[in-house]
Symmetry: D2
Subunit: 340 residues, 4 copies
């Protein structure tokens, strides 16, 4: 490693790239951001200016080749992830990569093989694992506070669907949206899913259906340890971003509520009400973005496994493929049916 | 009808029979309770004494034959329901019958045919429809307050499993426990289910599994109108009776919380806590037992349809049979596959 | 006593008289209601018909003189309380009397002396002591669950002011409305107040001010044991009946919320809301009216002290007089300054 | 001003100085931190290293004299505030000063006069005005959402008393702790208090009483516009930092709850509970420290009045003196009785 601070480069200056750049620049003094690259050079320059990044690289390759850089953050579109992971691994860089690694298991396996061969560290951007609510739920399960878990429920509804153009290239709701919940399910229960059953439909916008996707889904998970879970997804919750989980076990349950911009309740002659919950994942999960990078940097500095491994990136993709297959074939699908 | 008050007889002086007797005696002045019968004559006498019922009948038949009686409440074991319904209908009595009507669709159809032929009124004891929480949710759906419904969740967990002896003769969790939730699902959504998928297991007590039953179940409902619903059942929630629903729609969601014995919150150096929710269905649903009888009596007095018809009693049994079939065959089952 | 059931007579067939009549008739089998009287004979007849009371007495005196009657419930206007208490005591009847006993301490003392001389039992109608929320708070204080109490807050706001005609004869806000809170303060803390400071104003309706009364008040209580308390009163809370308390102590706090008609929360694009709290004291305190009478009847049957004694009726009147004096003289007033 | 970024110097590298340094360094790119000074040079150096501050000044005077510096943040002990304000004003620096300005009105007036003469901007560090909860309450009052305000309640309890050494030099509870609540009261109601009545005691630790101070206080405020308010202070709430307000008005009420580290609820066989609220003002008010500095910097850059003026710093001191006088003299005290 280059000195006491971890030297980082960022590939991708879009929304999430900017968030990570700001985190590294302003919140994590144990890191130093040396370079950023983006096909949209202006975007990269804007982030560099805001975050005091000394270099705007001409290409991802330039960042990956920079001997001063210890770790790269891959925040570019999904289709580029695997190539960049392979290059970065071969260059001996530690890697933080946004989810999903890829839509194809074969490509994911290529990436993981390269990481494995190179012996570098890889962390996947499942930031929600670092959210205070879900950390607390995991802790309750892991510590036995609620006994042996029996049932899990995840509600994960977006405030509004993304543009159709995005949906068309998103890989579908399961790879784009539910994938976070698949990861959450594994994280909270601490075990693997072996079978998935999916019910779903097009209830928000017929155009999403015409694009071959669903906008509403109910996924049932059966874990190896017997736990039964559900994931409830909708592309449109008019009241805002709805992100809740509940785990029920032999000694109790733990359930989380949404996060609100304030803790005020207003009583009038019409109702007792609060303002709407936080509406946007960037606000709702702000702190988790900081914590996931902090964990990555710590893992690299201390040379120990990252908290969200390459396999943690692969398995939710398998689950997404199984969920879609279940929907298409209208039957429960075992994960072992899905192969690279 | 005999005079201005509705004259009633009760068959069965067990737990629910006693509740209904007290309701008629002390809460509903528009009714008058003339007789009660139970195989356990002492039980019938005790209820009669407490509720000022003038006659302890020697048998159900004596009640059904009594010309002074306008309506009978059938609160005896499930196995006796159909015969009593048929007898009562033939005698021209209006009938309030506890759920389920029977475990066999053929027998249910016999009962409904007798009721239909006789032209008497029949109400099934799905009391939860009269609970203030669920009434409020139904109102939100029916009025369009939350738009077009998309997703429904019912959590219905008992504080503790019944004795094994009860479980063995209960017809199984779907006919004994989930049946209330099947009714609730239809009531809240206002439409019919066409397909059911069941996941479940034995997580509470292996002895329940040895008795051929489940103690934990997750049932997925697909309604004709596209709504997807889940029912979450457990025989054992250590924190008490857990009865919640949520309906999510195009304009919002409505969700209910459990009912608590008080509205106090205690903050100490360890936690911020409340007492446990009401632990027992008799406490939790007290008021609904009054309101269902009031609705029955009103329907009879005004000679209009009861709010929970014979078909409302039949369909949840079909759903229970489909749920079990789905579990056994490990696939989604359409309700039309279930026949008498 | 006359037989195993307590024989009661009710004086006053107004709102609260009717509530008590229904309670005795339908909820408390250990009592029997023999007679009712009211200047408005029609009102008495209506209640008698509804509650199966065999006799409508021509006057309170007729009830008090009835040898079959063990106990009388005095539900007539405040101005009549003392005379009726004295008469009933002299006739050897046990007495349940609505609050306040009287507006004059001298008259109250006359009543208490008569009760004392006769050796009959007297209970004052401070029903809120029997409300599940306040019982829970008292229990937390008495058991030491929140340690030594330091601070107490009572919020007690009515949904709307009573008619001006009522206000003019009410004795003023402190004797009419705050008196319940004075009792609650003593009940919750379990100690006596020694000094009162009052701030207040006319914020709801100028006509109330013109009638010489306040409609908004903030009363500070200093207890002998050092606890400092506040009472917050308003005649008009547009969102409904607002009845909350909080006790803060060395080991924690306990606070109660309002009571709602249902436990549903509705989320829309505008807000997350619930329906308004119960709006009327009859709904909010329904169960407490039953429990206070049950306690009275039990006390009489078992010949032990009632839970709300004559002194419990006198002290809040002293407090009300002190509160008014504090407001008039704009200074803290010690209760010992108030004499009969 | 020096260039497009506001150049700042910080005087005081204690707890709050460090917080402000980090905010300027990492959260507010519109500012640049040039120098820091502290009697404890090591402390200053540590903050400088962490926050990339180029200079550790030998004394406050060196910072005030630095022509590159536009604004100084005074985070040193209260006793030094006035001298530093006067010096800084005379040097033409804009000033952010922690609360309270001073314990003596005469000295405060000297400071304000110097600021006034110099024409510089001054902001006092009442950070809670920038907390999302209290901003929301103020907005509800200012917009008329709850109508004309009638009653105000502020609960402000610390998790544990500070060391006795601190208490001895703190100026007493009213100048040290309640002063925040006096500011909050004025901010929320948007009007001035004209009279104060104080009840209080020593309930937490007798040593605090021996030091001549109170540890528990209940302050009643009467505003010019008729609003009546209370402030409830305790030095020790075992369940954590308790910071709530409620405003009740002619069209409703708005009330805030505490802030929690997560939104999880755990139900077990003993209780339904949550973790404790945030325990420390630094966690509870984190965001408000950022927002107050942002507002200060914006005001300076745009040369418009700061949101918390010098008079906003003076008036709470008057209120604190009145509160203490009321406690000592056991009577309501008008603010006009307090003079410099």
């Amino acid at each position: 490693m280059n000195g006491k601070k971890l030297h980082c480069g960022i590939i991708g200056a879009g929304r999430i790239g900017r968030v990570h750049a700001e985190t590294l620049a302003f919140r994590l003094p144990e890191s130093q951001l040396l370079a950023i690259a983006d096909l949209n050079r202006e975007a990269a320059q804007a982030v560099a200016a805001r975050c005091n990044i000394p270099k705007v690289a001409a290409s991802p390759t330039e960042i990956i080749a920079d001997p001063e850089i210890d770790a790269v953050l891959i925040c570019s579109p999904t289709a580029t992830h695997v190539d960049l992971i392979v290059q970065a691994a071969q260059a001996g860089k530690h890697i933080f990569c946004e989810k999903p690694i890829a839509f194809s298991l074969q490509k994911i396996d290529d990436a993981l093989a390269a990481v494995n061969t190179a012996g570098v560290l890889l962390q996947i951007g499942f930031n929600r694992r670092f959210d205070a609510n879900f950390v607390r739920v995991r802790q309750a399960v892991a510590s036995g506070e609620i006994g042996v878990p029996n049932l899990l429920h995840i509600v994960s509804r977006d405030p509004a669907p993304p543009p159709l153009s995005y949906i068309r290239s998103s890989g579908g709701i399961f790879l784009d949206m539910t994938i976070h919940d698949f990861d959450m399910a594994r994280f909270l229960v601490g075990d693997e899913v072996e079978e998935i059953y999916t019910a779903g439909g097009v209830m928000v916008d017929p155009a999403i259906g015409e694009a071959g996707d669903l906008d509403t889904a109910l996924v049932v998970l059966r874990f190896r340890n017997g736990v039964i879970g559900t994931i409830d997804n909708s592309r449109k919750a008019v009241y805002g971003y709805d992100q809740r989980v509940e785990v029920f076990g032999s000694k109790g349950k733990i359930a989380t509520e949404n996060v609100y911009p304030n803790q005020a309740t207003i009583s009038t002659c019409k109702s007792v009400s609060t303002d709407l919950p936080l509406n946007f994942f960037m606000e709702r999960y702000t702190e988790s973005f900081v914590l996931e990078l902090q964990a990555f940097i710590q893992a690299v500095i201390e040379q120990r496994p990252t908290p969200v491994s390459g396999m943690d990136g692969r398995i939710p993709v398998v689950m997404a493929l199984a969920a879609r297959k279940s929907f298409d074939e209208h039957r429960p699908v075992r994960l072992e049916e899905i192969s690279a």
